[in-house]
């Protein structure tokens, strides 16, 4: 074992010790000015699918004094499933029948309940509307990423961010990498000059295809699309937005900035069956930051191809490679670490951190950062779909709203697959 990894081991232990103490203090603190129990976290969940169920489970494990008080979903079977799956938490997750809500307006009722910690875990197309409503009602929010699918949605989210700040509300935004020790330490080293000045970046999410649900006879177009939300741009933003946003967010975080323009390409080469809606199955985007640094981004969801989910940064004095399990810097300030077996799940940690900030009276917010990372992905998609260079201002100011103004169970045509170079 080399000296450098021994050093990393020492600093890792110290890092754990310090963070552990800080976290424990934050999580267990009960401000003396509050009556006992007044800082109880009461979760209202909007979107009770696999991720919503996971987010509630994570939050219940994140700190003491947390319980679930309201559940909402567009579909009744989702409410039934989550209630079965939360049984293991007993009273902490026993939600009264009159606090379970089904339908497209379920979010309003969850937000209107006694919940003071609203978790938003529906498909991302609904996110701007739900965020606005939760912040307007004065609720702390944990929102899944991404936080929108188009320019108008991101404008609404940025307005909600300002309002949340004015009102002193905490907003966590499901980008778990920002709460994972390996990433935190790598970013700190990069910020401290560990690779010198950054000259180039690369971001990858190349994997195989994902799940789909076969259409059932009783489903309307809208229900079929919502149950297969990955494959419709108005719901997911396409996979560059829905999934690759993680890597784009990581690079923006390391760069301390968002790109200002994008030139991209992509297509639908392999996953062509109409059962997969109209999204692409691959993208490659050349992004440029204000300081002239470029980021190459690629993402793919095609079976049987080379896979990689990671970020690379090239600097004047070294390189950094980051991924979910391993982080490394090469060059004069070489360093590396891997995910330790004893690590807390970053999905739990993000709730621990958010709840601690609420209880300390110092509400944290990640909404602006994640809104910008979401718009980074949207800007890339817009460029790939049109074949044109798209600037940040164009993406943010875009009038193209993908989410229908009014939704009702019934017919809903699928837009054509985007063809670059074709006049809109």
């Amino acid at each position: 074992m080399s000296d450098e990894s021994k050093d990393a081991g020492t600093s890792r232990r110290d890092f754990l010790k310090v963070s552990g103490a800080t976290l424990a203090a934050g999580a267990l603190r009960v401000p003396a000015v509050h009556a006992a129990g007044s800082d109880e976290i009461r979760i209202g969940l909007v979107g009770c699918g696999g991720r919503g169920t996971g987010a509630v489970t994570d939050a219940l494990k994140a700190a003491p004094g947390v319980r679930v008080v309201a559940l909402g979903d567009a579909f009744a079977d989702r409410i039934e499933q989550i209630q079965k799956r939360l049984l293991e938490f007993g009273d902490k997750a026993a939600v009264r029948k009159d606090r379970t809500f089904v339908g497209l307006d379920a979010f309003e009722k969850v937000i209107a309940s006694e919940a003071n910690y609203v978790i938003l875990a529906t498909p991302p197309g609904f996110r701007p509307q739900h965020l606005q409503a939760a912040v307007a009602a004065g609720k702390n929010v944990f929102t899944e990423k991404p936080v929108g699918v188009d320019g108008p949605g991101i404008r609404a989210v940025l307005a909600a961010h300002e309002e949340a700040k004015r009102k002193g509300l905490a907003v966590g935004a499901g980008t778990q990498r920002r709460h994972q020790r390996g990433y935190l330490e790598a970013v700190q080293r990069i910020r401290d000059g560990g690779i010198g000045e950054v000259t180039a970046a690369r971001a990858y999410w190349n994997q195989g295809g994902l799940w789909k649900k076969d259409r059932e006879a009783a489903w309307s177009d809208l229900e079929w699309q919502m149950r297969n939300w990955l494959y419709f741009t108005w719901l997911s933003g396409d996979h560059i937005v829905e999934q690759h946003v993680h890597n784009l967010d990581a690079v923006n975080w390391m760069m301390g900035a968002h790109p200002v323009k994008a030139t991209g390409m992509g297509g639908r080469q392999s996953r062509t069956d109409p059962a997969y809606g109209h999204i692409y199955d691959h993208f490659a985007i050349d992004y440029e930051y204000e300081n002239g640094v470029h980021m190459l981004s690629m993402c793919r969801q095609i079976d049987g191809c080379e896979k990689r989910v990671a970020e690379d940064l090239v600097g004047t004095k070294g390189r950094a490679e980051t991924s979910g399990e391993r982080w490394a810097i090469s060059g004069p300030q070489a360093w590396r670490r891997r995910e330790d077996e004893g690590e807390v799940s970053p999905y739990v940690q993000e709730h621990t951190d958010l709840i601690a900030s609420i209880r300390a009276g110092k509400p944290s917010s990640e909404l602006k950062d994640v809104a910008e990372s979401t718009l980074t992905a949207i800007m890339g998609r817009m460029s790939a779909y049109t074949g044109r260079l798209v600037t940040w201002e164009e993406a943010l100011g875009s009038a193209e709203s993908l989410v229908p103004e009014k939704l009702a169970w019934g017919p809903m045509p699928v837009p054509p697959v985007a063809r670059p170079g074709t006049p809109a």
Binding site: S323, S345, P346
Partner: protein
């Protein structure tokens, strides 16, 4: 290796000598993974006795994989479109008849990169669940007409010890934290043990059938034993007696509930190899994992 270990080695050697000539057909062989051009090799292990603590555990003759199962082999199973993907609890579209509950299933699509950046090919399979490893054995059995399954802990440890008092020079034989550079390595790059098995020690820890569990008891996601230590562990922890139990932390970065019954997110030090019993123990007949999405 201490004195009792050395004693056990001698006992094992004696047992092996009597079992060695039992059957001329009991020889090494190789076989093609059905539906692919990938071959795997099996090595005969004579019957004998495993001494574990005070216990003397008789072990029947079996064949065991010469190498840990590779992605080449496992990917052939995953891409077998003749068997259903286990999608979970939803009834089939159109209200058709329910799926045969005993039918072999194959894994759901993995999220992100199931090779974790280490690549595929001759790399050992990593971070799949005990259920997934058991189901692979069932698939291979159905396709080949032979019984392939995970080894019992006794079979595994007996094969690992290979009738020897100690493993010899560990660095020659095993990828551990001392020489692996934090990565699992393609199978078969080190020296084999006395019975010709590669990477039993180190590289990836290997799934086994729990010595304390009845054959029909595979109904929970955790805990299940892995044996032999891995490339993430210090050399002193890499022995034929090394044993760890799986736990929820091995899926801590799976954000969905229910979590995948096929893919762990944080067990990149775990793989497996299969055995083929010469004559299956009646207690093991019908052995299969009964884990479903609803299993605890």
């Amino acid at each position: 290796m201490n004195a009792s270990g050395a004693m056990m080695g001698m006992l094992l050697a004696a047992a092996v000598a009597t079992a060695g000539a039992q059957d001329a057909a009991f020889a090494p062989y190789s076989e093609t993974v059905p539906g692919s051009s990938v071959r795997f090799e099996m090595v005969p292990i004579p019957r004998g006795t495993l001494e574990a603590g005070d216990q003397k555990i008789p072990v029947r003759a079996f064949w065991v994989g010469k190498y840990e199962v590779t992605w080449d082999e496992y990917d052939a199973y995953r891409s077998d479109t003749t068997i259903p993907v286990a999608v979970g609890v939803r009834s089939p579209a159109g209200g058709g008849p329910p799926r045969d509950a005993d039918a072999v299933t194959r894994p759901t699509p993995p999220y992100a990169d199931e090779y974790f950046g280490f690549g595929r090919g001759r790399q050992p399979v990593i971070s799949i669940t005990h259920h997934a490893a058991m189901e692979y054995g069932r698939w291979l059995s159905e396709k080949t007409g032979k019984i392939y399954r995970l080894p019992t802990e006794a079979e595994w440890e007996y094969a690992c010890r290979a009738g020897q008092a100690g493993p010899g020079a560990l660095g020659e034989q095993a990828w551990t934290a001392e020489n692996a550079d934090d990565e699992p390595h393609p199978v078969g790059k080190k020296t084999p043990n006395a019975w010709g098995l590669f990477d039993t020690l180190g590289n990836v820890a290997e799934w086994t059938l729990d010595r304390d569990r009845a054959a029909d008891g595979y109904t929970t996601r955790y805990p299940h034993p892995v044996r032999g230590g891995s490339y993430t562990e210090d050399a002193k922890a890499v022995t034929c007696a090394s044993r760890r139990l799986s736990e929820e932390a091995w899926s801590r970065r799976d954000p969905q509930r229910p979590q995948s019954i096929w893919w762990h997110t944080d067990a990149i030090f775990v793989g497996f190899r299969l055995v083929r019993p010469v004559e299956e123990d009646v207690k093991m007949k019908g052995l299969r994992s009964r884990v479903t999405r609803e299993s605890p």
